[in-house]
């Protein structure tokens, strides 16, 4: 029988398989006036669902955060679950968690800007808002854990007649300087690209809103000098805030690494915490972007599957980096470290809280690795948001294991005791509610999309005919 010269089915040409470049935001330009109107419409259209959600969040914030905090201050830390040897509990977990979330904002608006990754353009401001509001929650959690919080101002270096100064030997003082630096600088970095959009809001509002935006817009017009100054300042910020971002979470990790506790005195904590911050932060950005896209009008034009794709790729890379650092931190005590570190590892993996460890590993490694490799899945906003949710659970548990669970084991077995959270549960719920409440209020006050940056990107992107296809082309004006 003759060899059946059966021809293989020809693969469809790649051109037909590739998505239409016009699906991308940068190649789907609309007149700036129309984009402005879309953003304003999304800000001004508030449904009963919005007000219900805001109302519920406000109630939770007032009861679970403000009232519970008042109760905590009046009655002392005894109402929390901390004891000997677990002197730091969920409050510190919250501090590290929220600072971690805040790093994603800087990563997106600074690092992606420096690397000229164009798909960052529509969501830099949403991410930067996460930074600012996350740092607010972290600051609240710092004040929550202090025994005499009304004397917190003693950490400020100010001259006084008694010659009392704070102790810079303490990692908590490095924390104080670093977190304040980061908070001040990222708020300024949020404000800088916001100025032109505030000018746009000013030009389109009336009444007291116009006064509000006029004051905040500082008289910005868009002259060459103003743009040059703004661009220079933004570039300086983008370059400068990246090392600050790395240093902040490293310094937070040194709160633990400088201690003599088994499980804490690890030299890998600096980069491990920074990657952990990016891990939980990028995951939170995915959740926030999904919520924005699905609940606010016209956001489907600005936030497209391609952005979630970029985010998903970053999340996958960071998840692998996190696994690398975690394995580093795990391997050394396992191999033949300190006797106490071995007892601690056994306690974490097979003690009464073993399920926390397994949940952490599943949420941080198994879930992202099994979902984020697939391009189609990465481009599905709700799937990315669910993945992000699990990653955040896993990262919260990671900090829980590092702080209260590790503190249970020390070199004096007589003192070992498990931590049982008490009022911290309410204050944690209040913290999360406050974050979302601030975000919901901000979404109606400032435009979440930096329209001028989107238009700038759209001007830079063209379609060029090469051979048989139209290829997206990026030019750089500056």
């Amino acid at each position: 029988m003759a060899v059946a010269a059966k021809s293989l089915p020809l693969r469809k040409s790649h051109a037909a398989e590739h998505d239409d470049p016009r699906e991308h935001l940068m190649h789907d330009p609309r007149p700036r006036g129309e984009m402005n109107d879309m953003v304003i419409e999304s800000m001004h259209s508030t449904t009963w669902k919005y007000w219900t959600a805001t109302g519920i969040l406000a109630v939770i914030v007032v009861t679970c955060l403000f009232y519970a905090w008042y109760y905590l201050i009046m009655n002392g830390l005894g109402v929390a679950g901390v004891n000997r040897p677990v002197y730091w509990g969920i409050f510190l977990v919250e501090v590290v968690f929220w600072i971690g979330i805040s790093h994603a904002g800087t990563f997106i608006s600074a690092i992606l800007r420096v690397l000229k990754i164009e798909s960052r353009r529509p969501f830099t401001r949403a991410a930067e808002l996460m930074t600012t509001f996350g740092l607010v929650q972290a600051g609240i959690s710092v004040f929550l854990h202090m025994g005499r919080v009304w004397l917190a101002y003693w950490l400020l270096p100010f001259p006084n007649e008694r010659g009392l100064w704070p102790d810079f030997h303490s990692p908590l003082m490095w924390d104080f300087l670093a977190i304040n630096t980061y908070l001040i600088c990222s708020t300024m970095y949020l404000f800088l690209p916001l100025i032109p959009d505030l000018a746009m809001m000013r030009d389109r509002s009336t009444g007291w809103q116009k006064v509000f935006y006029r004051v905040l817009a500082l008289g910005f017009r868009g002259t060459e000098g103003e743009w040059k100054n703004l661009h220079t300042a933004m570039n300086l910020f983008a370059f400068a805030i990246i090392p600050v971002m790395f240093s902040v979470h490293t310094i937070v990790s040194w709160d633990f690494a400088m201690a003599t506790r088994p499980g804490w005195s690890s030299t890998v904590f600096g980069p491990y915490f920074v990657i952990g911050a990016l891990h939980s932060g990028m995951a939170a950005v995915a959740i926030v972007l999904f919520l924005i896209r699905s609940t606010m009008k016209n956001m489907k034009y600005f936030l497209r599957p391609e952005h979630f794709d970029t985010l998903g790729k970053l999340m996958l890379m960071v998840s692998m980096a996190w696994a690398y650092f975690y394995f580093n931190d795990y391997l050394v005590p396992w191999y033949g470290g300190d006797k106490w570190e071995k007892i601690l590892s056994t306690f974490i993996q097979s003690g009464p809280l073993w399920f926390l460890w397994y949940t952490m590993l599943i949420c941080n490694i198994v879930v992202p690795w099994s979902v984020l490799w697939n391009k189609k899945w990465r481009q599905t906003p709700w799937l990315l948001a669910i993945t992000g949710f699990f990653i955040n659970i896993g990262m919260w548990l990671e900090r829980y294991i590092i702080i209260p669970e590790t503190l249970t084991i020390n070199r004096m077995p007589f003192t070992w005791r498990i931590y049982v959270p008490n009022i911290e549960i309410f204050l944690t719920i209040g913290n999360f509610a406050f974050f979302f409440l601030l975000y919901m209020l901000a979404s109606r006050v400032i435009p979440l999309i930096p329209v001028w940056e989107v238009q700038e990107g759209q001007i830079n992107h063209t379609l060029r005919k090469v051979g048989k296809v139209e290829l997206p082309t990026l030019s750089e004006m500056d």
Partner: protein
């Protein structure tokens, strides 16, 4: 096993007469675990009672605690020597550099670790960093008679030489620094050195077995120095390099290490 005194040279040491480097020796072979030292310390230093619930949750305020362990499984259970554990007044105290407000500083003249109650803001980093876990935190207003009316009459037993701490403040064993100061003042006014055995902290005073001995370890003739030089002597968690001022005497195997 002798302890080596390493006096680092600081560029800004305040010139002050060294009244003596204070240290302690605890003989675990004669300690009966009666906890008289715990009670005496609480009376001397105005340590509050935290109540049943908080004590069960690990918040009991004991500046000195007696640690009890056992070896083996029932019925072949063997008790190990009782271990009184109080602030070791480390020369390289890990609790000191981590306080953000200088509430935990080192006294250069007496070489003990000072806790400044009215400066403490309650971050509790010092307690996390103490390898001996001897620091105690005021979780609630345990001493306030307005919150706990049963304390009203007990206020008469407070020691006027010692501050009463409020909530949110860290505290720990001070080697009865009020008694050290009292002896220093007396010796100064009589123009002499402090005699060995003149300063007796509350725990040493109460111990019926004389297991706790206190004195100047820079004086080779003092009782505590001679006890510290015995071959039974060891320091707790010596490998951490904290240079503690308390020597434990234990004739058991493994150089008397408790764990």
């Amino acid at each position: 096993m002798s302890s080596e005194l390493q006096l680092p040279v600081f560029s800004n040491t305040t010139e002050q007469d060294l009244s003596g480097i204070w240290g302690m020796a605890i003989d675990q072979d004669v300690c009966t675990g009666c906890q008289a030292c715990v009670a005496a310390c609480a009376m001397e230093n105005n340590i509050p009672f935290v109540g049943e619930v908080d004590a069960g949750y690990g918040r009991s305020m004991q500046w000195i605690r007696i640690e009890r362990f056992w070896q083996g499984t029932f019925p072949e259970v063997k008790m190990t020597p009782y271990q009184p554990m109080m602030c070791q007044q480390c020369h390289n105290a890990p609790c000191e550099p981590v306080c953000p407000v200088y509430a935990s500083v080192h006294s250069v003249s007496e070489d003990i670790n000072l806790q400044v109650y009215n400066r403490c803001v309650g971050t509790r980093y010092c307690a996390n960093n103490c390898p001996y876990q001897v620091r105690v935190f005021n979780w609630r207003d345990y001493t306030d008679a307005r919150v706990r009316p049963e304390l009203t009459t007990l206020q008469n037993q407070l020691n006027p030489d010692v501050t009463v701490r409020r909530r949110g403040v860290m505290e720990k064993c001070t080697f009865c620094v009020q008694r050290i100061r009292h002896a220093e003042d007396t010796a100064d006014s009589e123009n002499r050195e402090i005699r060995d055995g003149e300063v007796v902290p509350a725990c040493a005073q109460a111990c019926p077995a004389n297991a706790i001995v206190f004195g100047r370890i820079d004086d080779p003739n003092s009782q505590v120095s001679q006890m510290g030089l015995q071959s039974r002597g060891y320091k707790q968690l010596e490998e951490l390099g904290t240079l503690p001022r308390v020597t434990y005497l234990n004739g058991e195997s493994n150089n008397g290490r408790s764990s």
